[in-house]
Amino acid sequence: MKFGVVVFPGSNCDHDCFHVVDKVLKQPVSYIWHKETKIGHFDCIILPGGFSYGDYLRTGAIARFSPVMKSIIEFANGGGLVFGICNGFQILLESGLLPGAMLRNTSLHFICKFVHIKTETNSTPFTKNCKKGQVLNIPIAHNEGNYYCDEKTLKDLKDNDQIVFRYCSPDGEVSDKYNPNGAVSNIAGICNKNRNVLGMMPHPERCSEDILGSIDGKYLFESLL
């Protein structure tokens, strides 16, 4: 299973993702510089977290037009696995690979803490090792994680089982009280209709080793193998 980690100017979780794939999953992985127009052969491409292009204009809005994105959109449309984490999720929304848009957190604060998320579906390549309803303890670190979509899109997401993760209590209760950023319907992660593109705000690469306080992120990476 060959992984690629895209590096945009301002990416800052690229090394963390590379490390998890290389040292924890023990799979081949290489960086893909954002200026590359041909990406070669990969099985899964990770769009990492960070502040691509300084988050200027809107998060992900400029990265979406990086030269590499044309190949990534083609890769995704051809069924390749694309995993967008945090800023990577924002780029997937701006590029139209996933529906909706990201707003500033309702608190207007940058939030950096461990939260709980409920696995709403395990019928994706990213969550197939999770149990449906499984609660993961995982960190978030973002200023724009307030997922927004209109009612019709939300209905489509629900009808097509595309809501993959929702913010919840430690025992899996989904309610406003456990929504850190104001996201519609507590959404923390969604996939596309074909289920080969996943975007999520929490950071599985920051909780895939015992020393980091949680290994729940490993469920996602290991699902891909």
Binding site: L57, R58, A61, I62, F65, E94, G100, A101, L103, R104, T106, S107, L108, Y148, C149, D150, G182
Partner: protein, 76 residues
């Protein structure tokens, strides 16, 4: 050469917590007559041969995310 002024704001249907916070600050300064504050962006383009069609293209392609934002512009 044209100067194009683009005004972008969140759609009415999208909550604007920045605007609400500013409104509360104005209330605390006793400006009770302010009913609503909406925040937005102002982008100025200096460009040749600006046409409405071209500026609309620029807005739709990059400057504005139509899912959450609306815009208007003036060409001078």
């Amino acid at each position: 050469m044209n100067i194009v002024s683009v005004y972008i704001s969140l759609k009415k249907t999208v909550a604007d917590p920045q605007g609400q916070t500013v409104k509360h600050a104005l209330e605390s300064l006793d400006y009770k007559e302010v009913e609503e504050v909406r925040m937005g962006k102002y982008i100025q383009l200096k460009m040749k041969d600006a046409t409405e069609e071209k500026v609309n293209d620029i807005c739709k392609k990059l400057l504005v995310n139509p899912i959450i934002e609306e815009y208007r512009f003036e060409i001078k």
